[in-house]
Amino acid sequence: MTDNQSIKINDFVIKIGTVNGTGSASANELLMKAIFRMGVPVVGKNIFPSNIQGLPTWYEIRVTGEGHAGRSGDVNIMVSMNPESYERDLDSISIGGILIYDSTWPRPHFMNRADITVIGIPLSSLCNAEFEVARSRILMKNMAYVGAVAAIIGLDMSIIYNLINETFEKKRKLIPANIKAVGLGFNYIEENKLNNKKFLVKSLDRTSNKIMIDGNTAAGLGAVYAGATFGSWYPITPSTSLMDSFSKYCNLYRKHPKTNENLYCIIQAEDELSAAGMAMGAAWNGARAFTPTSGAGISLMSEFIGFAYYAEVGLVYFDIQRVGPSTGMPTRTQQCDINITAYASHGDTKHIVLYPADPGECFTMAAQAFDLAERFQTPVFFLSDLDIGMNDWMVDDLEWNENYEPDRGKIMTSKQLADIEEYSRYLDIDGDYIPYRTLPGTDPKGAYFLRGSGHNKYGKYTEISSEYKEVVDRLLLKWKSAAPFTPQPIISKSLKKTNYAVVAIGSSDGAVREACINLEKQGIYIDYMRIRSFPFADSVEDFIIDHDFVFIIEQNRDAQLMNLLLTETNAPREKLVSIKYYAGQPLDYKFVHDALFKEIMANQKNKKTA
């Protein structure tokens, strides 16, 4: 044991290892919320198996007074409740850390690690003595470790009791047992003086006007506020909770006040092919429509995506990325669908893609996605990932513009139709590459025949080369013209002028920002650009050209973002350096920091020797 270590306040990581299906998720969430309510920012990561019951699962809570958004890569307090993962848990603890385990069955070999503190609490025997029913013994053990951790890190117990009261508001008879269980763990630490006060939480005021929310909940809510009325889906991890959210808030706020009828329609399809077809059919018929899925679903939907692109039907595909290829690791995260969403389907197809970085952006970009889809009459992809979608993030309060009106794009009404000689579906009347659509059922004059086969600008079938080419050339210009209307890149300049730059998208953001802050402390200055959409804005290319060394950080094996930049901009290949992490865990800043540091040192050494 090492005691000669300074106390860490509001800057450490608690990791809890349990067996999945034992009800630990709500206990872990309670622990995290208690810290959040003490005004201290937190980062929560659920690292769970593709399984319902019996396999190892972990929950990581980073306490970060400075409000960093990513993981640190450390584990300072390991609560190890699953004998199956004891060895892995023990290995994962950072030097000077604490291991808490259920000492009902003592494990003396844990003492082999002299650089950590081991705290054994006989949680099972304590709970077995207090609770009768087998299931409640399991559940209460979770609350008991919450109490123990609370004692060790100095949590405000009144906040924990309030949270228990809120959690069981509708099942009040469960409250006393939960409070008692928390007390068992708390008292054991206090009475046995096991608190070494190495890692403490001290109240701050850095979480007011902040919420803890996952990206799928936020995106589903965004779809409700955007006025989406139709969603079709096929269940797939990690996107399922997005439709759960849409469904939940529609059920609360989208009922006819008098008749209680639904002002929305959700259909669970038989597969993703069908989900894509339904959403497209609804969009063609004038509903704001979407389908949430993950990469495997995009593979299946690709046929319809190409049809929607060519026939110019605007709808939103939410892709919550998980680890591929094939079934891959369904409960792990990656940014591996950058390529497929940019070009999904056969033939020449290019899409609009949005890259939200956190749940706050999930809320706003969900609405933007619908506006873009309808304005440009084309598929729009919302490319999130499991880390953003399923983990709780601390973000600013969600805000909504009171004056928002959906951008439905160009829809020709009966009145407008009356003023023209003849309606043609794909004529570029306004010279902005966007034709006028009509809705079925509105006017005999507006009828047209939607087809995925070759068509001319009038919407008629064609096999004439020049007529075919005219339409697909316009489609390319239409796609390019969307760039200024999409969320623009966010560029963060370092304190000093620098030749080094980092480019990233989505959930890499927190880790990249923290890595840059740390490098700056070491005198290494790096500019940072977070790209937020495809087609790339002109500023993307400018930013790369303005720097000599541009590190492209992304979470996939094949450098998909870098290759997309090389294909779609004039960024010179020799300026780009790829940094990739693709092992499936949410990115931590130490990985990014170390990779950048290594590259920059090597580069500076080369410069000196040259």
Binding site: T229, L263, S274, G281, P440
Partner: protein, 350 residues
């Protein structure tokens, strides 16, 4: 699928329907199918039924997949929006379209390849959902556009044009529909326009999924000796089970059916589907007897007419608790939960 404009010949004396339109007003572009194709007769029967029911053409949405059959939606109702989707995926597209606006009349045209092979999953699930549409399956036992391969509806022993004999059992869309709970199942023949028009009328007015399997011979690849989907074979074994027609609410039922044999089914709009049993022992509301009748292997008889009907199943719109007002016509202010609710929602995130 070239969109030739069909020459319009107006006859002043052409009869008009209740909304003042002639039968020609229900035409589309000129057919590009082979001369004598069964599908063209189906197109004509569909146009006739829409005309007789006085449905405004632009209040119809016509949806299809890929194949010879799926081209035909272009050949009628030029004032209706049409969608020629992807192969085997007409049902999902139609389902989504219906959800967006339940006030239109939807019909889909598909073929045996489109429905029974590549799209069998979608067809089954559209039947399960009881999506309110007419689904016409133009069944010729063969792939026409790719020149003569057997389809999944080819009978055992049927001979292809090049001499190959099919040895796999056929998928019967009507038997399939019965097993998954379709609410209106009929079979007809492109060569019997009188029966077909009436079945289409009934199918269009039925609230829920109405499947009509229409034997529609392919003159180019499956109309030879040895084929079981040829005109000759179909005429030979054609038999009628139950005659069905739709009678609108105001119209007096003129046909004098024997009381014991006719069976009126009152619909939601007050109209009736009148059934006339040609086989007195047959009950089209009895699912198991319907199944046993059409799967009877002891006869070559092709049982046609209304095979099964169940008007008591809720349709997709009811299952989803949808209003009569279409989703695509609800103003945004009714869809937006508002700022106060956003604040309220966020209380649970702290």
């Amino acid at each position: 699928m070239t969109s030739f404009i069909k020459p319009r010949i107006s006859r002043k004396s052409a009869p008009k329907n209740k909304i003042g339109l002639t039968r020609q007003d229900y035409d589309g572009t000129m057919s590009t199918l082979c001369a004598g194709c069964g599908h063209d007769s189906v197109t004509a029967a569909l146009a006739r039924a829409f005309f007789e029911l006085s449905i405004k053409p632009h209040k119809v949405a016509k949806i299809s997949g890929i194949g010879c059959s799926s081209k035909t939606t272009s050949y009628l109702l030029k004032e209706a929006h049409g969608a020629n989707t992807v192969h085997g995926r007409m049902p999902s597209f139609a389902t989504g379209a219906m959800a967006a606006n339940t006030s239109l009349t939807y019909f889909g045209v598909s073929g045996d390849g489109d429905s029974l092979s590549i799209g069998i999953g979608q067809m089954i699930h559209a039947m399960r959902r009881n999506a309110n549409m007419l689904y016409v399956l133009e069944n010729n036992g063969v792939y026409g556009l790719t020149k003569g391969q057997f389809s999944a509806s080819a009978d055992i022993g049927s001979v292809a044009k090049k001499g190959t004999v099919n040895d796999q059992p056929p998928i019967d869309p009507c038997a399939l529909g019965l097993s998954v709970g379709a609410s209106f199942i009929a079979r007809s023949f492109s060569g019997d326009r009188e029966q077909l028009v009436k079945l289409i009328r009934a199918g269009l007015m039925h609230k829920g999924f109405a499947l009509i399997d229409v034997i529609s011979p392919c003159v180019s690849f499956n109309d030879h000796k040895g084929s079981t989907k040829s005109y000759e074979h179909t005429y030979k074994y054609y038999s009628k089970l139950v005659h069905a027609d739709y009678i609108p609410p105001a119209e007096e039922i003129k046909a004098a059916y024997d009381v014991g044999e006719s069976m009126p089914i009152v619909l939601h709009d007050g109209g009736e589907i009148i059934l006339r049993k040609l086989d007195p022992s047959y009950d089209p509301s009895d699912r198991s007897s319907a199944f046993s009748k059409i799967t009877n292997n002891n006869t070559k008889e092709i049982a046609t007419g209304l095979i099964y009907i169940n008007k008591n199943l809720s349709d997709m719109a009811e299952q989803n608790n949808l209003q009569e007002r279409p989703l695509n016509q609800i103003p945004y202010k009714e869809l937006n939960p508002g700022l106060d609710n956003l604040k309220e929602i966020q209380k649970s995130f702290r």
